[in-house]
């Protein structure tokens, strides 16, 4: 295989709909949502959330006490799933830990821990000793904790571009591999529920009081969620003897709206650029994309703009859906979580519907269904758009048919 080819060795994810791929596959197949009425501690906003209850049961080992945060607990849980660590061990034996890059994506990093710390300020306004966690209270906390847990010491950074963060990690991972500075990359994303995002999105009047209904005419906002997801990438010419998924990252696109900090470009001009770049890099025409996992947050603006853009760019034969009804909007983890849903669809042929959709908004010219479908897929796409007008689009393809 070509050195330019970027192969996915393994992947896994944890979110409200399930911990690990086995649970997630079952949740997708049976359309079992992970959303629940808001019961997040310290937050009484009337909304639904995609909370991962297992985080509350996670206990940091004494030697990891200084790494404590909700976000790090979710990362640790996510890394325990499936065969991720076995796959990584094979790569470490082959290449050495310093030749394995880490690129995480997050929007909150561990701000949950800062919130907790500020609830414990003493009378002089000082933080108690247990919260003086420099490796946790900085925006690179996810990358640092992954390296600590897994003993990785290659180049390591965290992408913090809000809700496109962990889509962009695939682009960076591919570039690092093609540049030859690493031989494998662990890409991932993690964001946890916290008061900052719950009250923050509430302040922007973007939070729904009901279960989110992406692309429905009656949609009235987002549900927030939490997730961690990971994927291991290698160059195609290094894949001999390594068990892999048979799927490659065939294209990526990254762009900016140049429009507004928190409102998407009205015609989706930046999103269109990212999609066009990804198609051009993959050498594919829109009609060759079999399924698109849309950003589909269920906000009035995003779904209107994204739905009409995708409806105009792609033929009706391209299936499209939003999986936010299973998970909520997992912000900086959405890119990798939904890429993994797209990878799952490619592998299983089970295309998730758009949960909670009663009728597509008549002002959105796109067709989609609430029901799951079966289809033989070759190329799938995932869209992620974030604050600051930050857009990313990824295309994954069966490796054996790649050009």
């Amino acid at each position: 295989m070509s050195p330019d080819q970027i192969l996915i060795v393994d992947y896994d994810a944890t979110c409200a709909a399930g911990s690990g791929m086995d649970e997630l596959r079952a949740a997708l197949a049976t359309q079992r949502s992970g959303l629940r009425p808001n019961d997040f501690p310290g937050c009484n906003l009337p909304t639904w959330i995609g909370r991962v209850p297992a985080i509350d049961d996670y206990v940091f080992a004494p030697e990891l006490a200084a790494w404590q945060s909700r976000n790090n607990a979710l990362i640790a849980l996510g890394l325990q799933q499936g065969t991720l660590q076995q796959s990584l061990t094979t790569l470490v034996e082959r290449f050495g830990s310093a030749r394995i890059g880490v690129v995480m994506g997050s929007s909150t990093s561990s701000i949950d821990r800062s919130e907790e710390a500020y609830r414990h300020l003493d009378e002089q306004g000082q933080l108690p000793a247990g919260f003086l966690q420099e490796n946790v209270l900085n925006p690179h906390a996810p990358g640092l904790f992954v390296a600590q847990l897994l003993g990785l010491d290659g180049p390591n950074m965290t992408v913090n571009t809000a809700c496109s963060s962990s889509a962009k990690v695939f682009a960076t991972g591919a570039r690092w591999l093609r540049a030859g500075i690493v031989d494998a990359v662990l890409v991932g994303g993690a964001d946890t529920l916290c008061q900052s995002v719950l009250y923050g999105f509430h302040s922007l009047q973007l939070v729904s009081e009901s279960q989110c209904r992406p692309f429905d005419g009656a949609r009235d906002g987002i549900n927030l969620g939490e997730a961690a997801g990971f994927a291991l990438l290698v160059r195609g010419d290094d894949a001999q003897g390594i068990e892999h998924t048979g799927i490659q990252l065939s294209g990526y696109g990254e762009s900016s709206d140049a429009h507004h900090m928190s409102h998407p470009h009205p015609e989706g001009a930046g999103a269109r650029l990212a999609i066009e770049q990804a198609l051009a890099q993959a050498g594919l025409a829109p009609a060759q994309i079999d399924y698109i996992n849309l950003h589909g947050t269920a906000s009035r603006a995003n779904d209107h703009i994204e739905g009409n853009l995708v409806g105009a760019m792609f033929p009706a034969s391209t299936l499209a859906s939003s999986t936010k009804g299973w998970t909520g909007h997992t912000l900086g983890a959405a890119g990798i979580l939904e890429s993994i849903f797209a990878l799952e669809a490619l592998t299983s042929g089970l295309v998730p519907g758009t949960l909670n959709l009663a009728q597509v908004d008549p002002e959105i010219a796109i067709s989609m269904s609430a029901a799951n479908q079966s289809a033989d897929l070759t190329h799938v796409m995932s869209n992620s758009f974030g604050f600051g007008g930050n857009n990313a689009c990824l295309i994954f393809s069966r490796a054996e048919v790649a050009a």
Binding site: A117, Y118, M157, G180, I181, S256
Partner: protein, 277 residues
């Protein structure tokens, strides 16, 4: 098994513009003067002046937090020096600490009974606020990244920008910025002085008369040595402010001194740049 691409295609970029802002200097020319005449630093106050980047419309600028203003100001300086159009330039913003003043604000509000956050402060709290303001103000629709690698942020941002410049055959702006740790965060981060710098990179040979050429060399054996900066205040800035880890490279550029400049990427990896003029 190593990648044939990496052996055949060393990563080489040309530098077309530099921006700088910090205590005692408001632009690259002033920092160059300070490098050349370090005794000037003894008479300076070593306090930053709040930048007013003209490229941000006045009503937006008022709402822009200090890290955004600093990052956009140095980006604008570097872009102007390069003579390039902002619409052609992708960008990589790097900040090791993020905006601790906004984080402090949010965490304090969330300890109150009402928990009423300002929507503007909330959207300004994202790490990519600087990238957002920059692309919006300059009309740039290219890829914009915002990365953090704590103390290694400068090296990772440069690595990312150089690789992107080479592989995508496009100019890339790399902007590093960190402001002084705010309030309770001063207990966690020693960073007392704010600093920002920007470098505008183009693919090697893409433009006439570059300021310098940067070649990414084999870095396995490289070790990071703190630069010998000509003033105590600059040493302190380099030590405590993650963005200021670029000061060694800036000093080398000011002196037009060819040779290596090394940035840490991880406990076992470094980025070695060979600088030539």
């Amino acid at each position: 098994m190593s990648n044939p691409l990496s052996n055949n295609a060393p990563i080489v970029v040309d530098l077309m513009g530099i921006g700088a802002w910090g205590p005692a200097f408001n632009n690259w020319a002033e920092l160059q003067t300070l490098f050349a005449n370090p005794s000037l630093g003894d008479d300076l106050q070593w306090t930053t002046q709040v930048p007013k980047p003209e490229i941000i419309p006045a009503n937006e600028r008022r709402r822009a937090p200090l890290p955004v203003r600093a990052a956009v100001e140095v980006s604008w300086q570097a872009l102007q020096q390069s003579g390039l159009a902002s619409s052609d330039v992708a960008c990589v913003f790097g900040s090791g600490l993020g905006d601790t003043e906004i984080t402090d604000y949010m965490c304090r509000v969330l300890t109150s009974a009402e928990k009423q956050l300002s929507p503007t402060k909330f959207h300004n709290s994202v790490h990519n606020a600087a990238a957002g303001y920059w692309t919006i103000s300059s009309g740039c629709m290219k890829s914009a990244n915002s990365i953090a690698a704590y103390q290694n942020t400068a090296g990772l941002a440069l690595l990312e920008a150089m690789i992107q410049c080479q592989q995508h055959h496009e100019p890339v702006l790399v902007t590093l910025f960190d402001t002084a740790a705010h309030d309770a965060y001063r207990q966690i981060f020693a960073c007392e002085q704010s600093f920002a710098a920007a470098l505008l990179l183009v693919p090697a040979g893409a433009a006439n008369a570059p300021i310098a050429r940067l070649v990414m060399a084999d870095e396995t054996a490289a070790s990071v040595i703190a630069p010998d900066l000509p003033h105590d205040q600059l040493d302190k800035l380099y030590r405590d402010n993650p963005a200021a880890k670029v000061l060694g490279l800036l000093q080398q550029l000011a002196a037009k001194r060819s040779g290596d400049c090394v940035f840490e990427l991880s406990p076992r990896r470094a980025l070695k740049l060979v600088v030539s003029f």
